[in-house]
Subunit: 243 residues, 2 copies
DNA sequence: CGGGTAATTGACCCGGGTCAACAGCAGTGG
DNA sequence: CCACTGCTGTTGACCCGGGTCAATTACCCG
């Protein structure tokens, strides 16, 4: 899954994939839905890789307002280098049941000295994460509720597609309206109404933890979505293992 | 200036500082206020270091709404590794006249293989940047106008302090109300009113490109500011050049 | 079947946006 | 030295997108 994710950057060798698979197999933990994988204030000792399930990064204010600052989908890496910092400045929570691989700094170094391709691919992944962060700020700071929610759904849809979790416009979508609210800076009530809007315009179908986007292009148009920020156009083609 | 910035992470050796100074001296460009240093869509070929002046990172929507997603102060690095990506997903604009050093990938590699301390310090700087991004999302997504503006002013104040640009609670502050509006997702009109509020409560003095915060602790309290996200507590003390 | 989580609806309200005019001030050029 | 221009800050009147509160109805899982 991680290999698949990284191949959006560059084609990896059989050997690279094997190395990634190996690292994905060591010290796997299971986290129940609604539990934290890491909590703010903890000392970060390892990097983590989401093997299965959905998680989110979030921060809270003193008085309990909560902002989701990112979603982790299967194949996503949390924080290549966090262990440089003394304390976590945010938490990571499991949305569904999650399988995570924990990766020690040593393993990380070994992996990165194993191949330039992998190293670059991991940096790319990190840079894409930062880019998504920026787009979210634009989303929350400047767009209307309608655009915000549609934009977010579309981003997740596209990201799921790159890891092969979309078939024929359909995908599993375990995120609740409250999650969407916390991610967009809206209230759950208003998210609900906004979703009804999107549905009424035939842009999405969302029910029972299942999302269908019949015509992604149309949704792209009406939300101001521009996929460039996901950097999916094989940036590292010069590293292609088969080139 | 960069050395000073990085010493918030760990103490550097005389040699490290010299290396940083050397890199700061090569290919220095001057950018006029209100001009772009880098523009969205460009191919990123080099990393950049702000030597002097203020800049900001921003993104725009199709129809011209603009979100500032970060400020660069003197000593700040823009994007260690951007040249991995094919195109810039955002622009960097000069707020004042700016002096920037441009740093080639080769120089970057040389610098990082020169010393682990520097390498870690640069990674730390990058991680802090990401952390600030997240805090901004919390800021824009969850806080009131009053908290948002106060929080932002305080963050910039604290960051300026770490590079020695605050004396006795005073600092230069070339950011206009329109900048503040674009950074907080508010309108210039409302920023203006909010500043008047902050002034009325004696929390800030801001006039003629000059900011004074008489009692940072009080402002901290009333904006929900928690400096942890800036990771200023010498995370890399184990790397201390004099330890 | 029961208890907790998630979705939906309606009535009402408010923080912040919009529009428009004006004032201050810095730089620029004649 | 002054008039001009363009940016920045300020104010007032009015409005609206989205928030709040509260109740109700699905769900889902053990």
């Amino acid at each position: 899954m991680l290999a698949q994710r990284l191949q959006a950057f560059t084609r990896l060798s059989r050997d690279d994939c094997a190395a990634l698979d190996r690292i994905s197999g060591t010290s796997v933990r299971h986290i129940k839905a609604r539990n934290d994988i890491v909590s703010e204030g903890e000392r970060p000792l390892v990097a983590r890789l989401i093997l299965d399930g959905w998680a989110c990064r979030y921060k809270s204010t003193e008085d309990g307002r909560r902002q989701i600052v990112g979603f982790f989908l299967p194949g996503d890496f949390c924080d290549l280098n966090v262990y440089i910092l003394r304390r976590m400045d945010h938490s990571v929570g499991a949305i569904t049941r999650v399988r995570v691989a924990t990766i020690s700094p040593e393993q990380m170094n070994a992996l990165m000295s194993h191949s330039v391709r992998i190293t670059h691919a991991l940096w790319w992944h990190e840079l894409v994460g930062a880019s998504i962060q920026r787009e979210w700020l634009l989303n929350v700071g400047q767009r209307t509720a309608f655009e915000r929610v549609g934009h977010l759904l579309l981003e997740l849809f596209v990201r799921l597609r790159t890891v092969g979790l979309v078939t024929d416009g359909h995908c599993d979508f375990p995120v609740t309206q409250t999650h969407l609210a916390d991610a967009t800076g809206l209230t759950p009530v208003h998210v609900n109404r906004t979703l009804q809007d999107l549905r009424a315009q035939g842009l999405i179908r969302l029910e029972r933890r299942h999302l269908h986007i019949p015509d992604p292009d149309r949704l792209t148009g009406s939300t101001g979505f521009n996929p460039d920020y996901l950097h999916l156009d094989h940036e590292g083609s010069h590293l292609d293992a088969n080139a």
